[in-house]
Chain length 289, copies 2
């Protein structure tokens, strides 16, 4: 079977990522991927889903063979020019004409367009959307912090073994600069405790919050394929326990914040779950503790 | 499609488990499942696999539609009477005619027979073998400790919310008795950090090693379907980091111990990875720290 043109673009993206997120034409590859995804979705039927999440509306795209994941209709603004404008401002060094909410919409629309397209192309492929989302968010964070991420940390070699420990994305802009530990996932689901466990490990090796933990997630929606109902799978009480007993995450960012997690911001002690767009403006204000 | 007779027995097992592991006829259901599994495997072709693990030999069973996972040929003694004898000794209160190694073989042979059978019946079903293995090991541990497990712990309700936190199996034989936290998995793979994270959480709520962590796993083999080669996926250096920086697990038990993890016992500080059979004899000697 011929590899779908969208997946060929994804191959090209992987090739570019290997050269580095801050060099080359990665932004343009994202533009091409976005355009190709929207073209693919435009040939599919748009379906209104039944939302079981208060205040949120969802749609999906239905292809010939299968349907897409749920898309938050209020965040979805399929428009490549918004992305290219954002990208062009990033390239001049500063985002001036988008606020946090607008950035969130642009990034959500691009990311979910690709994920939904892959849903239509391949049955049950979670890995391609997952990897794409990692590259996409890492690209934005790398731009903001001005440094390439690594995915391992060095462990003090007390016993000669020169050990590197694989991690999620680590951004270290240099001595005495803010350092970030940024797991990037399309959803956390039943594995969310791993976010805190990795933070605990990095805290242990480098000191508590030497790397501030700021995971970025896409959404926590679940679409019941038979009933066409959308729910959000959230475990706020468990998250609070992880935050109290395992490690402290400084922020948890989402492109589509689940309602149950958004409420954690309002409780004491707060567990700050924010739109990812906020990171681009508040990153310099974040401090450990 | 009619549900396979082995899966009907599995349904019966689930029904019995709901009544409790220490009551009813669960042991007999395991005997039936074992016999049915061996009958199913006897109708499949037996294949010698290419072992890339030093000192271990593996086989697989090949059905009409698909093949089974790898089976450690040196541990595999398909003989229901060995199990029924072990079961009968358990019912009289003490195991007298099996040592740890022999128990391990009996338990391994029963567990892997069911898992391999499910591999032949259903494509890509990891959940049925996983749940079965949890019930099977929990049944043995519940017998040994004389107490039913729970799968949640109560959190001190400082803010009125009466929170229970879902956990892996927890065995609490009563006040001032040894308590155990026993995650049970067919393999740990890339999620192994969750074993330590849950221990850290329970340590936080109840005090360090108030519940001793003794996870039980089946194996870490991976069969390459094309090349027919078997490897063991192990991350011993990462495990050591988890043990140093996240929490202390008292033991990690396997029915088929991966070679790379067995070596951790010989190093300092030891991370004690043992055959599960050992638990039945050493459980009263285990102490925190």
């Amino acid at each position: 079977m011929l590899r779908h043109s969208l997946l060929l673009l994804f191959d090209e993206l992987k090739k570019q990522v290997r050269k580095g997120l801050l060099t080359g034409q990665i932004g343009d590859v994202f533009s091409q991927i976005y355009a190709e995804s929207l073209q693919l979705l435009s040939s599919a039927d748009r379906e209104e889903l039944i939302s079981r999440v208060f205040g949120k509306r969802y749609i999906a795209f239905c292809g010939v063979a299968r349907g897409s994941r749920a898309i938050n209709a209020d965040l979805f603004e399929p428009d490549v020019t918004l992305w290219t404008q954002l990208l062009s401002e990033m390239q001049t060094g500063e985002i001036v004409s988008f606020n946090s909410d607008q950035i969130n919409r642009v990034l959500y629309s691009l990311a979910i367009s690709f994920c939904a397209s892959v849903d239509l192309i391949k049955e049950g492929d979670q890995q391609t959307p997952g990897t794409f989302f990692q590259y996409f968010v890492a690209f934005i964070v790398a731009w903001r912090l001005g440094v390439e991420p690594t995915t391992s940390i060095q462990i003090l070699s007390i016993d000669q073994e020169d050990t590197r420990l694989p991690t999620d994305f680590i951004f270290n802009p240099g001595p005495k600069q803010r350092k970030f530990h940024v797991p990037i996932k399309t959803s956390s689901r039943e594995r969310s405790i791993m976010l805190w466990a990795h933070q605990k490990l990095i805290d242990g090796v480098y000191g508590v919050e030497r790397f501030m933990g700021t995971p970025v997630m896409l959404a926590e929606t679940k679409l019941d394929k038979a009933s066409r109902e959308v729910i959000e799978i959230c475990l706020p009480e468990q998250w609070r326990m992880y935050q109290l007993y395992i490690a402290r995450l400084k922020r948890i960012y989402y492109l589509d914040i689940p309602a149950a997690y958004a409420r954690l911001n309002a409780e004491f002690p707060p567990l700050e779950v924010r739109p990812f767009g906020d990171f681009l403006f508040e990153w310099k204000d974040l401090t450990p503790g």
